[in-house]
Amino acid sequence: MALELLAGPISFSVDGVSLPTWGAYYQQTYIQGIGLISLGVNPSGQPGGTYVAQLDGAAMFRSPFAWGAGSLILVPDLRKDTGIAMWDGNYSDFDAIACAPYPTPWLTTAAGASVASCVLPDRFLKIVWDKALWSGLTDSVNYVEEYAFTTNPPTGDATVSRTNKPGVICLAWRAEGQIRFYDTVNRIQVGETIYLGESFDACWYIRKWDIFLTLESNQLKVFANVVRPSSLSNPVALSAIAPGLVTQMQVRLLGAQNEPCVGEIINWAITSGDGFLVASQSETDENGYAQIGYACPVGSSGSATIAAEVDF
């Protein structure tokens, strides 16, 4: 596992009664201030339709729309802050508050149209395996490649989420559990690839809290955008150690896929030999490195053993 698990797996429930079946992953989306909206939920003894789930799996009935959701698909419409587009062969606005669609499509598509992964202000964006494709907002038929994701290229479908950075979206691929941030203005990946550590049916980035919400086999999990430590290198001196000098010692803390662990506290200690450390703790930087000063006493000789460990 590469990201820290905060909660889960969590089952869905309605009025405290466990709900064994939730909606299909492509008929859901997370909206801040509302929750995880899902079409096609039909709990026993409860009205069927669109439900809203909280992060702890508690679900509430919202609308009778689409109790038999069929082939409907929900995709983020980034032209509005809580915009959702509903695909049924055409594109309609889906209101997140009422959990029901506007009746008139805003785009009636031609034959051969396929659903986008999200709607951008100036185009449709479709993620097909490791490729980002675009199409005009009156089209959705002819998609052209605009970017290819390299280094461990992902496969399969991707969930799209909003971020706090203008023009930047979060893409999460189901098959490998890969998460990448994509600048839709400059058409390029930004930042490192994140590895959740497991596959999922869908994964939404909750930008308000910098956490990820995943759906897998009708259960939710909440992950921190924090790499779970996997390996800590041995301390190395950045320069020659000599009596009377302070030498920087360095370790690197990495995740399972060699991602840097940022902001973690490293505890340092001298287990044998002379000298002292400038402090007992230091914090890893954006590349996963942590340093501490080791002072070698004047007139000292022999060796010293310096240990580093991390508590998590």
Binding site: A7, Q54, D56, R62, P103, R228
Partner: protein
């Protein structure tokens, strides 16, 4: 769920001795029952608020009753003082608008639509002397579905004379906004169920009570949904298109008035009352606390909770407290209780003192 701010007195049934006898519904006066009439168990016909000078505002409720005497039913109009909920009495309405679909505009004008294909609309008012519903019988508007495409009786509707608009229900999950004069469709607004009552709230805004029991506030000029919530005990005692008519928006006190039927007592006397509700959801659910950063020894961990209403709508300004079991040494709760924000979310903090596990609980204070 909304905050209740008002409760009316129950209306009263009349004794059998005060009413004509007849061959129908003999159970009404079978001991221990002593009252000769009863609400028929269907939908309320109408509920509205009227300025009955010198009483500032009066709540009216029109119900269909079962009676022993021919023709076995009547329509009774009840009145309450909207300020203190005191029952002002009832009368058997002489105008017989029982099959009409009522709607009250923002200025208080009362309209009723008949069951004709033309969907003719008449203006009604309250006679200041008799307090009965009266009409001049003149057709004010006609809304045939051939002109007002999709408009369907008995769905709810609202007439906005100032803007020249008709906000009309369909048998789908939306309301349609029409040009009042021509029937041209201006736009549609999605709703969580088909609309059964449309209530004017303010300029260009109205509440829509839907068949699911959920309410939405919409702006019918911008075609936006502004909020969605659920009133406790929505009335669905009857069939399609007639549910939920026992709700109205009190324009003066800015509250919902909702009549919900409750069973009669052993003597057959009514127990139902009208509740008044402030249109702000109160929390009915608090999520389990979830850390949004991995707990680390000697570090502070932010903890997320969310307070929401019965359909997941946010409940702001709710005080949330975190706690750990007494004697816990692994962690302690840090700081004062947090108030939920506009999304219904609050962040509390936990200090991690040692390695190990801890059971963290959250509770909310609802004032």
């Amino acid at each position: 769920m909304l905050r209740q701010t008002f409760t009316s007195q129950p209306f009263t049934y009349r004794l059998a001795s005060d009413m004509p006898a007849g061959p129908y519904y003999s159970y009404l006066t079978t001991p221990p029952r002593i009252y000769g009439e009863e609400f028929d168990g269907g939908a309320a016909v109408a509920m509205f608020v009227n300025d009955d000078s010198p009483i500032f505002d009066v709540i009216y409720l029109l119900l269909q009753y079962k009676t022993e005497a021919w023709p076995s039913y009547l329509y009774r109009l009840h009145r309450w003082d909207a300020t203190d909920g005191s029952y002002l009495g009832g009368l058997d309405t002489a105008t017989g608008p029982g099959q009409h679909l009522f709607s009250q505009s923002r200025d208080g004008t009362l309209y009723a639509m008949d069951g004709s294909l033309a969907n003719n609309v008449y203006k009604y008012s309250i006679d200041p002397t008799t307090h009965d519903l009266v009409t001049d019988g003149v057709v004010q508007f006609s809304f045939p579905s051939s002109t007002y495409s999709g408009f369907l009786q008995p769905m709810g509707y609202l007439i906005d004379n100032d803007l020249g608009l008709l906000i009309g229900g369909t048998s789908q999950n939306w309301v349609t906004v029409y040009d009042l004069a021509t029937g041209a469709v201006k736009g549609s607004i999605p709703t969580p169920g088909y609309p059964v009552v449309v209530m004017a709230e303010d300029t260009s805004r109205c509440y829509v009570m839907t068949s699911s029991g959920n309410l939405v506030l919409v702006n019918y000029s911008t075609f936006q949904v502004l909020s969605c919530f659920r009133i406790q005990d929505p009335d669905f005692t009857s069939g399609v298109g007639t549910q939920g008519r026992s709700i109205c928006w009190d324009r003066r006190y800015r509250r919902f008035l909702n009549w919900v039927y409750t069973p009669v007592d052993s003597t057959g006397q009514n127990t139902s009352v009208i509740g008044g509700y402030f249109p702000t959801p109160i929390p009915t659910y608090l999520t389990a606390p979830i850390p949004i950063r991995p707990p680390r020894k000697y570090q502070q961990t932010p903890i997320l909770t969310r307070a929401c209403g019965s359909i997941g709508e946010p409940a702001g300004a709710t005080r949330v407290s975190l706690s750990v079991p007494t004697g816990t040494t692994v962690a302690q709760v840090n700081g004062f209780p947090a108030n939920t924000d506009g999304d219904g979310e609050a962040i509390g903090y936990m200090d991690c003192l040692d390695s190990g596990s801890v059971t963290l609980s959250a509770s909310a204070t609802v004032l």
